[in-house]
């Protein structure tokens, strides 16, 4: 853990791991989408419209999972002031925002044929929209600071405060009367899951693929972030230039 905290070590490790994560994610996406779009039967109530579930639900899970990851990294950034934790927390935000946008748009495209409306201000949809604003707030606050390390710590604090929204998104379908359907997959009590195995396995494979994709994307972004933050350091000079920096004055 300590070894990985050092930027040059992390840079090399992430660079080696990333292609493998992405490769498995792509294979998973192909398998999952084949299972979801071709093998799984149409839903008896929703026909083929339900097939949006195979991207909508994994994206929604990612929107929450990435937020939690960002908050944990943000906490580490605030407590220990580790550069790597700051970079990881800040690079989570755009990926999380991307998945939240996907969740909202695919949900809207699913809602129109099923509910007859693109959008409604119900608890699940509104709290997911708040999640998007939290991500955008973190990105905006981070960019508002001249000193990027101070910006990262300020934005980490916002990320930590916003964590109250996560249980609200998750439990909104139980706490309030909502148009949104209830939980489809119950991990704590699989017997309560209201989904056939032929539909469940593609969903879980897609969930795995999106998780791996997230880690691959995060590692790539964090590498670039570190490169930028450490641009004056010797390891970056060697990496970019192929040779160490010369000291000022006469060359020896």
């Amino acid at each position: 853990m300590h070894w990985l905290g050092s930027p040059p070590n992390f840079y090399r490790f992430a660079g080696a791991l990333r292609p493998w994560l992405m490769a498995v994610a792509l294979v998973g996406a192909v398998v999952g989408l084949y299972g979801g779009l071709v093998l799984a039967p149409p839903d008896y109530q929703q026909g083929d419209a339900y097939r949006i579930i195979f991207i909508h639900v994994p994206s929604a899970w990612m929107s929450l999972f990435i937020y939690a990851t960002m908050a944990v990294a943000g906490l580490a950034a605030l407590v220990w002031r580790v550069k790597l934790a700051e970079v990881v927390a800040m690079e989570c935000a755009p990926i999380g925002a991307a998945f939240t946008v996907v969740t909202l748009v695919t949900g809207s495209l699913w809602g129109k044929p099923m509910w007859g409306t693109w959008w409604t201000w119900d608890a699940r949809l509104t709290s997911e929209l708040v999640l998007l604003f939290l991500y955008l707030g973190v990105i905006g606050l981070y960019n508002a600071f001249e000193d990027r390390r101070r910006g990262a710590r300020a934005a980490s604090l916002l990320a930590l405060v916003g964590i109250v929204n996560l249980p609200i998104v998750h439990y909104s379908v139980q706490w309030w009367n909502t148009l949104h359907q209830g939980t489809t997959v119950d991990f704590l009590d699989p017997a309560r899951s209201s989904i056939a195995p032929s539909m469940l396995w593609p969903l879980l494979v897609m969930a795995l693929a999106t998780h791996l994709y997230f880690f691959a994307s995060l590692l790539g972004r964090a590498r670039t972030g570190l490169l930028s933050l450490e641009s004056g350091k010797q390891w970056v000079r060697i990496l970019v230039d192929g040779q160490p920096a010369q000291t000022t004055g006469a060359p020896t």
Binding site: V38, G47, D48, S59, V102, T106, L109, L227, S231, T248
Partner: protein
Amino acid sequence: MAHWFAMGGYAVYVWPAYAVFFIVLAWDWFAPALRRRRLTRELRGRLARERTRNARAARAEVST
């Protein structure tokens, strides 16, 4: 194939949803690559300028 593509009449909702998923994630994947290329170019330029400056300073030192 055409039957499959029709998605039981829901093609206009299903396919745009999948398109959004892939377009947004493609943006997420390729935008940092562009940022990275810009950054490396910038750093390389900065190092090159530094080197010429150092070389000039060294020459000046020799001539005095």
